[in-house]
Each structure stands twice: as C-alpha cells, then as structure tokens.
C-alpha cells in the first residue's frame, strides 16, 4: 500500500471538500436572497438547511481515513474475549509458539554473536586477517611477518600476535595465566585507547627482549588486581623475569580472537625470553595470526594481490625456507576459516532446523485455527447474515492469530534471554580462558518480533479460504457438522507437513547421538582409560638448557617409583591436544630441499623412551626409544604407518631413512599404529615421533599409566612432583579430561540436535493429538451409531483414527527421507554421523510410531467409550 501519496492525496481531497461545501452555502444563500430574505436571515436559513457543517465535514473526511484506533481496539477486545473463552487452546498455542520462537531466538543470538558480529574494535569492518590460501591457518614466521608488514601497500599497519601461557608472579604467588604476545603496533593499529596508563608501541621494540612491558586486560585487572589503579608502573615477574605493567586495556576489548580471553598482553619481541622460540628462523611459523585494517579505498581483492606479490618475492628470495606463499583475507573473529567455516556451517544448519521447528509450530497452529474456524462456522455465518463483512471477520481472526503469536514471541524471547545469560557465564573448558557472552541485542529482538508476526500471519491465513467459502444461508439452515465432508482438507496437508518436519528433526538428532557415541569409542591410536596426565612447562619455573632434560628424567623416575604405576612417559605435545606441531619432510632421495618438493607434512611429537607404553600406542615393529637416543647418538625416529606409506620406500620400513627440513637424515627405528592427531574427523595423517633428548622441550606432558583409582593416584602424582620442585606449576587430570575439549563441538551439536529433536517430537504429539481428538469429536454421533449397530472395537478405532495414522505414516516416511538427506550436512560436525545405519532408521520408525500411539491414546479412549444411547438421546 502506498502510504505517502495517500497522505498527500488526502489533503487535496479535504481541500476540495471544504471548497465545495463553501460554494454550496454561497449558492443557497443567493437563492434565499433572491426569494426576498435579508442577507443575515438568508445566511441563517442556509445554515439550518445544510445541517451541522462541522459534523458533515467530519463524517465526509472519515470516509477517507484508515480504520481508526477505536475500531482496532474493538478488534483487540473481541479477540481477547474469544481467546479467553477457550483458555486451553490459547495456552497450547502460546506455549507452542513460545518454544519455537525461543529456540529461534537462542540460535539466532548465538549466530549473531559468533558469525554476524564483528570484532569489538573501531572500524572493524575493514579489519582482515591473513590466511594461507591452501590451508585454514594463519601461522607465519616472524621474519616473513616483518617483510609483509613493511612491504605491503594495502594495510594501515599489519599486526601479529601469538597465544601463549605464562606464569605471573606479583610477589610470592605464581599463577599460570594466558597471554597474547602482540606486535608493538598492535594497539595503535587497532585504534584502541588505554583504559588506564598506556600501551606499548612500535617504537618500544629494539630487537629481542627489549620491551619488558605488559598491558592487562580490563577483566584480569578487575579480578586479579581488584581495580587497583596504582598497578601502573608496578614491576611484576612473568616466568621469573621482571616486567613493568604499563596500563589496562579498555573493558570491551579482550584480544583479537573472539571467545579467547587472555589475561594480559606482552610485546612479541619478548617471545624469545618467555617461550624460547627462534624468531630469527624464517622457516619457523611461530606467529599465530597476522591482521590489519585495510587502507581506505583498498578492496580485499587488491590487498590479496598485493600480499601475493610479496609472497612470490619471499619465495624467490628464500627458496629453502619459504614454500608457496599465497593469501586470502578472512575475518579474524573465529581465526578465519579454521573455526569460522565449521561454526558457520553448524550455525546455518541449526538455524535451518529451528526455522523448521517454527514452521512445524505454524502448521500445528494453522490446523488448530482451521479446526476452530470450522467449529465457529455457525457464528461466522450469523455475523455475515447480520451484515458483517467477510473482511471484518477475517480481520478478527488475524487479530487473534497475531495476539497469540506476539504473546508466544514475548514468552519465548524471555525464556531465551534467561538461557543465554546462563550460556554466557558458562566456561566450557576448565583451564582455558574460553567463554563468550551471548547478549541478545536489538537485532535479536527485531528478528524475534518479526518471526512472531510472520508466523502469526502464516497460521492465521490457514482458515481464510474456509471463511470466504462460508455460505450463511446453508450453514444456518443445516447446522454444524456437515462441513467435515471433504476428502483431503488443508488440515491434512498441514499435518503431513508438520509430521514430516518433526521426523526430520528426530532423524537428525538420532543420527547425531549415534555419531557421538561412535566417536567416543573410535580408535584414537592411544588408550584413554587408566591414564593420568600431569602437564607443566618447566620454563615457567625458570628451567632452561641442560637442566630441562635432567629435571624431566627425575620426574619420570619419581613417578615410576609410585606403587601401582605400570608405565610413565612424556611428550612435548599430545595427539589431539593443543599446540601440536607439524613439519615438512623429504624422502631420502630428494636432494633439492625446497618446501615445494616436500614429500609430506607430518605431525611431529617429541617423546620420552617409555611414551608408547604409557600412552597405550601399539608399536607394530622395530624398537622404542631409549635414554641413549640423545644428542650424541644418530638421529632416529618412530613413524606411523601412514608416514611409512607416504614417505618411505616399499619394503621393510624399519632401517630406512628420510630427510628433515634442514636436510638432517633420520633413520626409522620403529613403526606405530595410525591414530588421530589434530581432530577426530581427520583422514589418516603421517606422524613421526622423535626422541625428546634429541630435540628437548620445556613443555612436559607426563602420562602415567596405572589401574589405580585416579582419586588416589592424582594426589600421589602431585606430591611426588611437588617434592622435586615446588615452583613447578602442575595441571593434573585424567587423560579423558582434555579429550572432552575436543569432543565439545560434537557434544554441543548433539545436545542442540537432541533438544530440537525433543521439540519436534513434542510438536508432532500435539499435532496428531489435535487432529485425532478433533476428528473423534466431530464423528462422535457416527461412531455411536456404528457401535449401536455392533461394530467391534477394532473397527471403531479404524474409523476414528485410521486417517490420523495414515497421515502419520506418510509424514514420517517423507521426513525420514528428508532427514537422511539433511544428515549429510551433519557429517561436517559430528564425527561418523551417517544416516545409513539400521539402528537410526529403525529408531526413527519406532519413535514416530510411539509418538503416534501416545498422541492418539486419549482420543482412542474417547472413541471407544462412546455411549450410543446417551448420544442418540441428545439429538
């Protein structure tokens, strides 16, 4: 409808009207004057003849106006009265919608927070992170970063950062904390201003370990320093080294990775001191991510071309260290595509499913409304006969629908806000600063209200055709009950659609649950059971150089001495843990060791002699490492089967050689089974294990294999290690704890799908119940006659519920088929989610049949208990 022209046109209409009436009066006055009245008397008589001028004008204008507020209020009052007359219907409708809209609001809020919203920094829309074109990763070496930063013409300052752990000691209380090591230009390029004190700047960097400053995040300042404003310029110890607190970052900024909340920021040039990384090695990808604001007018495509030309230059200049270097720009929030793609896919899938829930709810309410309209056809006919217009009656029906949908929307939104509060405060990974407040913003409210309105219009529209067809004469003459004669009504179609949607949801949730169950019992390439994990980083206690392996050996010996311990081993990183390294390797025949000639990219773990026994990884052939595999003995490695297949020549693998990135020849001394290293869903990955004494690391993940109760073993491990050096910070947990982190995604997916599946089941119950109850109540008289004529219980049930079950069967079959198709999307997130699983298929069929039975139980009882005598007497 065109509002604006209508308003302007109305002004002209009013003007015409006034002018016309003025001319009318003039003509009448002249007429009276001609008849001999005095001018004053003529005017008076003309007024009397015309009537109330103002009232006439008002009535004439009203013709052109919208239905006034008054009549809208009247509609509302009528709708309220109608709804109050059937509280059960109203409550069921509002609750159904509240559930559906609540689910949509929750999912949309989460999607809004993680996918739609940008990072909370100024000009976030021009902030892009660099991602390798061939891999969802942003890792970069420091020297490459410097070149990219200084040679590009597209960014207003390219920043880099690293995520790391560090021990912070403000005076006798070392605690491990999470930090972002940031380039000097970090805060300035992001356009941030300190909440307190000041930031570090690019000018503070003068080579390695030249800027011993830290900047606290606001929340860490709040919790650890209790908002103490005098912390600025205080000297604290980070990993035992003195650092000065420069300032506090603004409250809304918690680092450049969305849900990761570091405690403080340290200049990247201090990395050497804190982590011992070799920043001067061009081949060592020590940086986690680089990003920057595009200069005004520069498009992402132009910036990519610019970066790629620098990449080509670097590859040409440093062929040994730099492989093919091409970039794509991505949003930094979720570390580019690495988390971004699965999260986006998952959220889109979830959004689709919740939309389906809403559609099913609308179908449900639509059929309820249609049934209600059918019951009210007499009332509608009467109103039509009394001169009401059809549009007026439809307006009433829509007002009812919209009122229900708005009430349901408000309730659903309220519930979702409560749920989201809890979700935002939840820390899913103990020990990691990973959490993200999911605050519903204006966007969420708008979407919820829109959804409510649209669904109200959707299910309100179902009975329109019915009302338009009502013939007042027929209905009043024939009474009710003769309308239920059509073969397939819109209600049947709606029910089938609704059941199909619900079957999709039930199928998806069963597929997800099965997938999760399977991935929990998959072969990881190591045994999770009966293993304790004690992890530490010796650098946090000030160990370095030769003191590190010596201490590690003492720790192993101390733990081996504990009663009931079968094996103790350690590694610098664990499979399926955080920070797993990988490196390129070359076959023994390769002589030109440029990265593009690499034979494979293999996972790299540095492990102690007894690691394999402690981890429960089967050694298929060859030998394990010993303490004599140290710096003075030849370089050796144990590789998995995939590595042997890809890198080594055919034949016996043990005894063959391969080359490392720097050209070192390494001899394979053992073969282990394949396992999972980076993710549960990965295809077989080549992996190699090197003796820890040949490549020492301060990061120490000790595995203790023992069948003793972890409740007893844990404290024993802690006290044994504590006696060696109380300054070493320790995390002790069972081996399956960190695995929970890994299964977080699939688990969340399963919970979400489970909830949606339950909602789908609930909706199909209400749908079938509504349909069955309605058809039984409509046909009570017919059923009574059948019973009076001697129909058996089976036949009565057949008559009463046959249709409902037929519809259930059709809907379920369609839903199952669609669900199987939809599950292909699920395979993305839930490991081993496959719909072609007899258990799943059987489960869905069984579930839908059970739902049908539950829903039809009460109507069936009603049908069977029909008393023909009572019914016939009533007529």
């Amino acid at each position: 409808m065109n509002w604006m022209p209508a308003i302007f046109r109305r002004r002209k209409l009013y003007d015409d009207l006034s002018e016309e009436m003025r001319l009318h009066m003039e003509e009448r006055i002249e007429q009276f004057e001609r008849e001999g009245l005095s001018p004053i008397e003529a005017r008076r008589q003309a007024r009397i003849a015309f009537g109330n001028l103002a009232l006439v004008q008002q009535r004439s204008r009203e013709v052109w106006q919208w239905p006034t507020l008054e009549s809208v209020l009247a509609d509302l009052r009528l709708a309220l009265r109608q709804l109050r007359r059937s509280p059960g219907f109203t409550l069921a409708a509002v609750l159904t919608l509240a559930l559906a809209i609540g689910a949509n609001a929750v999912v949309f809020s989460v999607m809004n927070t993680f996918v739609l919203r940008l990072l909370n920094v100024p000009r976030a829309d021009s902030l892009y992170a660099l991602q390798h074109a061939n891999k969802a990763s942003g890792h970069q070496s420091y020297l490459n970063y410097i070149d990219l930063r200084d040679r590009n013409r597209s960014f207003d300052g390219l920043i880099a950062y690293n995520v790391s752990g560090a021990g912070l000691d403000t005076g006798g209380n070392p605690t491990s904390s999470w930090i972002e090591e940031a380039s000097g230009n970090y805060f300035d390029a992001l356009g941030l201003h300190p909440y307190l004190g000041q930031f570090f700047h690019a000018a503070d960097e003068h080579g390695p370990n030249s800027a011993p400053y830290i900047v606290l995040t606001y929340s860490y300042w709040h919790t650890r320093f209790q908002d103490d404003r005098s912390v600025v310029n205080r000297v604290v110890r980070v990993d035992g080294h003195p650092f000065t607190i420069l300032g506090v970052a603004p409250p809304e900024f918690h680092g450049t990775l969305m849900f990761f909340n570091p405690d403080f920021f340290v200049p990247l040039v201090e990395d050497n001191l804190l982590n011992g990384d070799d920043m001067s090695a061009r081949g060592s990808l020590a940086l986690f991510e680089t990003m920057g604001h595009l200069k005004p007018g520069v498009t992402p495509a132009q910036a990519e071309a610019d970066l790629n030309s620098i990449g080509a230059y670097l590859q040409k200049t440093y062929p040994k260290e730099v492989g093919k270097m091409a970039f794509v720009l991505r949003r930094p929030n979720l570390y580019g595509d690495f988390l971004g793609r699965p999260v986006k896919a998952f959220m889109a899938g979830l959004m689709l499913l919740t939309t389906l829930i809403l559609l099913a709810a609308c179908a449900n309410l639509g059929s309820l409304f249609a049934a209600r309209a059918a019951d009210r056809s007499r009332e509608v006919a009467l109103r039509l006969a009394l001169g009401s217009s059809r549009s007026r009656i439809l307006r009433g029906l829509f007002t009812e629908a919209i009122m229900i949908s708005l009430a349901g929307g408000a309730l659903g939104l309220l519930g979702s806000v409560v749920l989201l509060r809890a979700l935002g405060a939840w820390q899913p990974f103990p020990g990691y600063p990973i959490h993200q407040a999911v605050d519903p913003d204006a966007m969420v409210y708008i979407v919820a209200v829109l959804l409510a309105l649209v669904s109200g219009l959707l299910f309100g529209a179902v009975p329109v055709r019915q009302v338009m067809r009502v013939n007042p004469y027929e209905v009043v003459k024939a009474g009710t009950g003769r309308i239920a004669g059509q073969r397939t009504s819109a209600r049947d179609v709606l029910l089938v659609v609704q059941i199909a949607i619900c079957a999709v949801l039930v199928t998806s949730s069963l597929v997800a649950v099965r997938g999760l169950a399977r991935s929990l019992h998959a072969n990881f390439g190591f045994q999770v059971q009966n293993t304790m994990l004690a992890s530490t980083d010796l650098s946090m206690a000030g160990y370095s150089g030769d003191r590190v392996p010596a201490m590690q050996k003492r720790m192993i010996q101390a733990l081996q001495a504990l009663p009931g311990v079968e094996a103790v081993g350690f590694a610098d990183t664990l499979p399926l843990g955080t920070g797993l390294n990988d490196t390129i390797v070359f076959s023994d025949k390769t002589s030109d060791l440029r990265p593009s000639n690499a034979t494979a990219d293999a996972a790299l773990l540095n492990v102690s002699p007894d690691y394999f026994r402690a981890a429960g990884t089967a050694l298929l052939s060859g030998r394990s490492f010993t303490w004599t595999d140290d710096k003075n003995s030849p370089r050796v490695a144990i590789v998995n089967r995939e590595f042997a297949r890809k890198v080594l020549a055919s034949g016996a693998a043990v005894g063959q050689n391969f080359k490392m990135k720097d050209g070192t020849r390494v001899q394979v001394v053992g073969i282990t089974e394949d396992g999972k290293y980076n993710s549960l869903t990965e295809d077989p990955v080549p992996a190699m294990f090197l003796p820890i004494l040949q490549s020492p690391s301060t990061s120490t993940q000790i595995l203790v294999r023992s069948s003793r109760d972890p409740q007893i073993l844990g404290p024993a491990v802690r006290s044994a290690l504590h006696q060696l050096d109380p300054a070493v910070p320790l995390d002790i947990e069972t081996r399956d704890k960190p695995m929970a982190t890994l299964l977080f995604g699939p688990r969340m997916a399963t919970v979400a799908l489970g909830v949606l599946g339950a909602m789908g089941a609930l909706l199909s119950i209400t749908g079938i119940f509504g349909m069955a109850a309605y058809s039984v109540s409509k046909r009570l008289r017919e059923l009574g006659i059948r019973i009076a004529l001697g129909a058996q219980r089976r036949e009565v049930l057949q008559t009463a519920l046959g249709r409902a079950f037929k519809l259930l069967a059709i809907g379920s079959a369609a839903g199952l088929l669609l669900g199987i198709l939809a599950s292909r999307v699920l395979a993305y997130i839930v490991y081993q989610a496959t719909p072609s699983d007899p258990l799943v298929l059987g489960g869905v069929v069984l579930a839908m049949a059970l739902l049908g039975l539950v829903a039809a139980w009460i109507p069936a009882q009603q049908a069977l208990s029909v008393n023909p005598l009572a019914l016939l007497r009533e007529e």
Binding site: D16, M21, L23, Q57, R61
Partner: protein, 116 residues
C-alpha cells in the same frame, strides 16, 4: 449529536438516489439536493449536508467521479458523474431493493398477496 436527523431511511438509500440522479445527468452537490427534493415532492426532507459523506463514499468506491468546472449559471462547481461501475452497482441495488419493497408490501398488505 443531539440532533438525530431523519436523513437515511436505510443504509444505502441516499447513495442509490444520488446515483439515480447522476444517471440522468451529471450534477454538482447543490443541484443534486434540489433534484432529490423536487423528485420526492419534498417528502424526503434530507439535510443538505448529509449528501456530502454519501458523495465521498461513492467517490471512494469509484462509483462516481468528480471534476471542477463552471456551471451553466457561470458558477465554479464540482460536478459529479456516474462511472460504468456506478451504473452496474445502481442496477443491482435497484433490483434488490425492488424485491425488498415487494416483500415489505406483502407483509404489510397480506390480502394483496397473489399466493394466498
């Protein structure tokens, strides 16, 4: 209003009379009033003003159209003209009202009923 005017006999009657007048010839508001009063032999004492809301309704329903012009007596007037759909509407109304009048007449004078 305190003044219950005896304007409409039943809803739509005034509109019907206006349409009927306009079918004979286009006219402006004042002329319509005069015409209706004369034709009804002044039996229908209609307040002149009540014509205008009815005219607006007809305009809105596009049963008539209006144009500013100059009358034969050289006055500036807004002349109304019946449209094609106005004509159709009028015919329907008349036939249905005729049936109604018949019915009313039968009820009021049962002795005249041809059926009995």
């Amino acid at each position: 209003m305190t003044n219950p005017s005896p304007r409409d006999l039943f809803p739509g009657a005034l509109e019907m009379m206006i349409l009927e007048s306009l079918r004979r010839q286009p006219a402006h508001g004042y002329a319509l009033v005069l015409h209706i009063q004369q034709r009804s032999n002044n039996l229908l004492q209609v307040e002149e003003g009540s014509l205008y809301p009815a005219l607006q309704r007809l305009l809105k329903a596009k049963l008539v159209k209006a144009e500013w012009g100059v009358s034969a007596t050289n006055r500036r007037v807004r002349t109304y003209q019946i449209t094609a759909s106005g004509l159709r509407h009028l015919e329907q109304q008349i036939s249905s009202f005729e049936r109604m009048f018949q019915g009313i007449a039968l009820v009021l004078n049962p002795s005249d009923s041809p059926a009995s």
